[in-house]
Symmetry: C2
Subunit: 66 residues, 2 copies
DNA sequence: TAATATGGTCATATATAAATGACATTGGAG
DNA sequence: CTCCAATGTCATTTATATATGACCATATTA
């Protein structure tokens, strides 16, 4: 689970607006939010910038297996 | 510029060893280190875990445009 | 009722990440 | 110098990210 949807909602953007603002298709945003696949690093970086956050906030999950 | 090579050297691993440890080809590591392309998020996450670091440390560049 | 905005999903096509095998170069160790 | 490990790079193939167009469901508003 990533946190794209949470950050998008915080900016009050629709999937379409977010897609437009980073130059991808709306379906791409939808699939990413629903973990249907595996975005490229370049796309992750664009998302982080548009959503005023960073890679870790959007995509990093700490492992607590010690 | 990403910091994969720096973190790999810190772990004293070769490109081949790093590639083996995350299940990709050596060339893939080489291309990523030299910014020849655009790895997937899943691959970035594996790299971060194997190199005992996180996404921001490897791939995030702060923008200092204020 | 209809109309619109948003989100989820499908099928098809294209661009590119990644695999594979090969070869050249570099640097260190003998 | 030779030998070898590590790296850089090329060409080809395969898997998949992404684009595009479409359709459906839901909620809201006229």
């Amino acid at each position: 689970m990533n946190h794209v949807k949470t950050y998008r909602k915080a900016k009050k953007m629709s999937q379409y607006e977010l897609a437009q603002s980073i130059g991808v298709a709306r379906q791409t945003i939808n699939l990413i939010e629903n973990d249907k696949y595996n975005p490229s690093l370049a796309l992750c970086l664009k998302l982080a910038h548009v959503l005023d956050t960073d890679l870790n906030a959007l995509f990093w999950e700490e492992k607590n297996e010690n």
